[in-house]
Amino acid sequence: MEAVFEKFYENYHNDLYQFVFYMVKDKETCEDLVQEVYIKVLKSYHSFKGESSEKTWLFSIARHITIDYFRKQKRKRIAGFFDWREHGELIKDQNPLPEEITVQNEMISNVYRYLDKCTPEQKSVLILRYIQSFTIQETADILNVSVSKVKTTQHRGLKKLQTYIHSEQQEGGDAE
């Protein structure tokens, strides 16, 4: 077990951590989910048939776990529908920007902030494609969707970011 953990940690931990963090944008949640990913990996490594690469498999697990996390959050929010504003704040990006982001330029900060406006599927694609530099095919393999679907989801995610950033820029222009 330790050998498997070592292998995955040495080869993929940084990428895994970055992926999960950018999905949930909270370090504490990220740590919990990364831990869950490793637990799943160690428990099911014996059933990994090698039909995909280890990295693809690992990220597929990570994606499932983060999507599951979002669904649980959503169920909490729906359950408290008439108090949705209160619960909504838990979902919205109320966490302060990480220091690593605040020292970047305004565009990067805006893109980081508005990633939350994307659906989990769009976010997954954008993070895998651009932050993690997976190819379209690799992304399709991880998400178990078609290449065409990746392209469509990517396009919609980028368009959504565009819309929000454009509005932000317009408001900034009006304020001036």
Binding site: Y9, E31, K74, I108, K117, T119, T152, R156, L161
Partner: protein, 388 residues
């Protein structure tokens, strides 16, 4: 380079330059936490599920193939065989149907092609309708507009009834390839829905920035029609919004009654698209069914819409309570044309409030698994969408 392309490139560059976030996890500490969890005895149901997952998936897949063909399209996250055991442990909403269901509805019949049920979607490779869902399934009704925002294209997503229906309303868009199919973007990707069917209402949580008023009144009208297409089929005739919504000339509203309208069904397909859809075309409330059928012959090329009844067809209509009889003369066409015609007539009849349609004098009593020797029930859904 146009402005939007420039912005898109800047966004991509920003994503690529997202900084590395410092990982405060200590490797040894992480391993200790993980190993203690892994070494803990698992809860019996989880372990059992995990241990028997590959066998169970094969058994269930075989059962589905033999008995419940519609379940091929019921999974919202259907996975390849290599991921199946893992997915079952990871995600309770994943069912273990065959990976063949990963195809779109229109092509799933090519891979499945099962005999048995004669009125099920997967037996009708050219069909645009779902006659009925299986015992363990439920249908989610979605809707999008055509590219020009002219007509509503109702959609049907069949999923397992073991999961919450509400979660799928926001997810329908993820199963669409709007660009390839010539559709407008699904408008409700970011909404949360809570159904209150007993009170015939739906509560919709819209994002803060949501507004159907983009291009004036046209979008508002579409917005109402989209909601009607999504919720009236489940007897929900009233929606309540989490916050007031600007509906242009109607004003800002917090709730919206949904009005049923009479529609005929024509065929929509943009030239570059591999699939077409039955599209709702509103017709006057006072129009009779013969008028509707006549109107269904008419093409609307400028909107990529074509008639669903051959120009040369003659027909007479008899209404018999909830049953309609449509008697054809001078009707011809290949299987695909006739199937689309039957699909469209059935959906139009449904819109008019009929429950069955008896077709007479068609070239064959069996057209693409429609048994036309008896009245055909109106379909439960139209334009099936297969979750990938």
């Amino acid at each position: 380079m146009n402005r939007f392309k420039y912005n898109e490139d800047k966004i991509k560059e920003s994503l690529k330059h997202m900084p590395k976030i410092k990982d405060d996890l200590d490797k040894d500490h992480l391993y200790q936490r993980i190993s203690s969890e892994v070494n803990q005895p698992e809860k019996s149901h989880t372990k059992k599920r995990f241990a028997f997952a590959p066998v169970m998936s094969a058994v269930i897949a075989a059962a589905v193939l033999l008995l419940l063909v519609p379940l091929f399209i019921n999974d919202t996250m259907v996975q390849d065989n290599s991921d199946r055991s893992l997915d079952q442990a990871l995600d309770k909403t994943i069912s273990n149907e065959s990976s063949d269901a990963g195809e779109e509805a229109g092509s799933s019949t090519e891979s499945n092609g099962e005999a048995g049920e004669t009125v099920l979607m997967t037996d009708k490779s050219d069909s645009h309708v779902i006659q009925e869902t299986g015992d363990n399934d439920m249908m989610i009704h979605g809707a999008v507009a055509d590219l020009q925002g002219q007509y509503i294209i109702p959609l049907s997503l069949v999923v397992s009834d073991s999961v919450e229906k509400e979660q799928f309303y926001g997810e329908i868009g993820d199963h669409l390839d709007e660009e390839a199919w010539g559709l407008s973007d699904y408008m409700f990707s970011d909404v949360d829905v809570q159904l209150d069917v007993s009170n015939q209402q739906a509560q919709i949580d819209l994002p803060e920035d949501f507004s159907p008023v983009k291009n004036g009144s046209l979008e508002v009208s579409l917005f109402e029609d989209l909601l009607a297409a999504m919720f009236l089929p489940i007897q929900v005739d009233h929606v309540i919004f989490s916050r007031p919504v600007n509906l242009g000339q109607i004003g800002t509203v917090k709730e919206l009654p949904l009005q049923p309208t009479k529609n005929i069904y024509k065929h929509y397909q943009v030239p570059e698209s591999e699939r077409g859809f039955l599209v709702q075309v509103p017709i006057d409330d006072q129009a009779g069914f013969e008028t509707a059928l006549s109107e269904m012959k008419r093409d609307e090329e400028e909107f990529n819409v074509s008639g669903t009844i051959p120009e040369s067809a003659d027909f007479s209509v008899q209404e018999n309570g909830s049953q309609l009889q449509v008697d054809f003369t001078n009707i011809s066409g290949d299987g695909e044309i006739l199937t689309t015609m039957i699909d469209a007539i059935l959906m139009t009849a449904k819109s008019f409030g009929y429950e069955d349609v008896l077709f007479s004098n068609l070239p064959d009593d069996n057209i693409n698994s429609y048994d036309l020797s008896a009245p055909v029930r109106v379909p439960e859904g139209v334009n099936p969408i297969t979750p990938e």
